[in-house]
């Protein structure tokens, strides 16, 4: 089985936000929720870099560990998913997530956040694959159709890579070798306790 990962090649990201738009459109994500976002570091200064970030589907995910109702599960492809039926909207996963991935439909005063929503690696949720109810709760299930996440597929500069960790790491390594530089696989050390050696 593949071990699915995201890798954002920050030296290629042009902050076009197509990944963000593609994600919102593909999954019909409600207003106010961003499963993916592009963060620009040192904006406007020399050495500025943009990184597209969503749930990294961590190894030994902290969100799953702190969830008081154990609503998270990891698929055979190592994608971290959750059940909106079990989620109680406590917000703990957001406090534990190193990447700010969990999102909530409402601000959350008096515990009224609503059910958590996050990137599913286009693998939706626990409902039967590619059903209407699954789409309504979690969005499209592209993985079940044999497709990879749309954000990476849409990426105009092919900065964002999604797929089996070993394959995308090899692609990135080859790029770095060829062009002679690379600022590394952002978030990998935190999410997977390993990085791409280049």
């Amino acid at each position: 089985m593949a071990r699915m990962k995201f890798l954002c090649d920050a030296d290629r990201c042009i902050e076009c936000n197509a990944c963000v738009t593609a994600c919102k459109n593909e999954h019909d994500v409600p207003w106010g929720i961003n499963r993916r976002r592009v963060v620009t570091i040192n904006d406007g200064k020399p050495g500025e870099r943009s990184v597209s970030m969503a749930c990294m589907h961590c190894t030994d995910a902290p969100c799953a560990a702190v969830c008081p109702v154990d609503c998270f599960y990891t698929t055979a492809d190592a994608v971290v998913l959750h059940s909106k039926d079990l989620c109680i909207g406590c917000g703990y996963c957001f406090y534990a997530c190193p990447f700010g991935a969990p999102q909530y439909p409402r601000v959350g005063n008096f515990g009224s956040r609503g059910k958590m929503d996050k990137c599913t690696f286009c693998a939706a949720g626990p409902e039967p694959d590619s059903t209407e109810i699954e789409y309504a709760k979690y969005g499209a299930n592209r993985l079940a159709e044999g497709k990879l996440p749309l954000c990476a597929e849409m990426c105009s500069t092919k900065s964002l890579l999604a797929g089996d960790g070993e394959i995308i790491a090899a692609i990135y390594k080859e790029r770095v070798t060829q062009r002679g530089y690379g600022s590394g696989a952002w978030g990998w050390q935190t999410a997977y306790r390993e990085t791409v050696d280049v």
């Binding site: 920050a10 030296d11 902050e15 936000n17 963000v20 106010g32 961003n34 976002r37 592009v38 963060v39 620009t40 570091i41 040192n42 904006d43 020399p46 050495g47 500025e48 870099r49 943009s50 990184v51 970030m53 902290p62 560990a65 702190v66 969830c67 008081p68 109702v69 154990d70 609503c71 039926d85 079990l86 989620c87 109680i88 909207g89 406590c90 917000g91 703990y92 957001f94 406090y95 534990a96 997530c97 190193p98 990447f99 700010g100 601000v107 959350g108 005063n109 008096f110 515990g111 956040r113 530089y181 690379g182 600022s183 590394g184 952002w186 978030g187 050390q189 935190t190």
Partner: protein, 338 residues
């Protein structure tokens, strides 16, 4: 037509010229590139940012500006606390307190009133005081159970009732915790105002502490004099008031998430809230023990509001004397416990 044909002839020639010029210029540019700027020389570096700033922040173009926080590895510490330290602290405090109390009961037994009941009752807590106490007490029990559910629920209750029922219960527990908290906060404030004066240190405290309040005298003959509240009760009072205020403040941070602080502040609020919460639960278990099973005649003080005169003389001699002096005095109107 002839012009077009001419164009067809000239266009490739121009293209060839541009290409030749380009080829001529390109090596110069490339040379400048290698000798001049490396495109990543000034680039931000993830590990360096994490080492220097502990987290990585940037700018986002979506309205939610807090999404600019790219990485906060502090989430790991939160997880370590929440799943590592906290269940242990909670378990040790609560089970430890139960064991200590069981041991105390086994050795010391129930603390009896030596002189037996006199049949004369005196007022110890008036209606407002009892209302404040029981509001706080009832709220605290709800808050303690629903709060412990966040730590131990998935470990103890979920395997018994299944994930669906446990999720439903936990949603209600969450709302109960969020709304009952206001009754607790109000109760703590009323108790603070009502009892702060009688809980200031007085001249009996040192002797009470020296004799351990007579708690450890198995013959039950040690009854150090005490005012309205003995030193042990004062310690309970200050623990509840200060702990309650700390719980209230950290709780309000969580009731209005991100209104006062960022994600790291929210984590800190939980560290305080959960740790103080489980410690206060342990203290209150001891309080409940000594107020009911542990001491004869203690429960009625807060139950009916009156206590037997002999009980009062044994446990709060200075208070009884003051009360009696007051009722003998010129203002003989029976004043409630003061």
């Amino acid at each position: 037509m002839r012009i077009c044909a001419l164009g067809r002839l000239i266009a490739p020639a121009i293209a060839a010229l541009i290409l030749a010029f380009g080829l001529f210029v390109a090596p110069a540019g490339a040379q400048e590139g290698t000798s001049g700027s490396n495109p990543t020389a000034q680039a931000v570096n993830e590990q360096q940012l994490l080492n220097e700033l502990k987290k990585i922040e940037g700018r986002v173009t979506i309205p939610n500006t807090s999404a600019g926080l790219l990485q906060q590895p502090q989430g790991r510490d939160y997880r370590a606390f929440h799943e590592g330290a906290l269940p242990w602290i909670g378990g040790i405090v609560i089970i430890g307190m139960l064991l200590v109390l069981a041991l105390f009961y086994f050795i010391r037994g129930r603390i009896r009133t030596l002189a037996g009941e006199s049949g004369i009752k005196i007022l110890r807590f008036n209606t407002i005081e009892r209302l404040a106490h029981w509001t706080t007490a009832a709220a605290f029990i709800v808050l303690a159970i629903t709060g412990l559910n966040f730590i131990f629920g998935k470990r103890l209750l979920m395997p018994l009732i299944g994930p669906d029922a446990f999720s439903t219960w936990s949603i209600w527990a969450k709302y109960a915790h969020d709304f009952v908290s206001w009754a607790f906060m109000l109760g703590v404030l009323v108790m603070l105002v009502a009892w702060i004066w009688d809980n200031l240190p007085d001249r009996y405290d040192i002797n009470w502490l020296k004799t351990g309040g007579g708690l450890f005298d198995r013959s039950n003959r040690t009854h150090p004099p005490a005012g309205r509240f003995n030193t042990g009760q004062k310690l309970i009072f200050w623990t509840v008031v200060l702990g309650g205020i700390a719980l209230s403040v950290s709780g309000i941070f969580m009731l209005f998430p991100f209104a006062f602080t960022d994600v790291n502040g929210m984590q800190t609020a939980q560290y305080f809230h959960a740790t103080i919460g489980v410690i206060l639960i342990g203290v209150i278990i001891a309080h409940i023990y000594i107020g009911t099973l542990g001491m004869e005649g203690a429960y009625e003080a807060m139950g009916s509001g009156t206590v037997d005169l002999n009980w009062a003389k044994e446990h709060h001699s200075a208070w009884v004397e003051a009360q009696q002096a007051k009722s003998r005095g010129p203002h003989a109107a029976a004043e409630p416990a003061e």
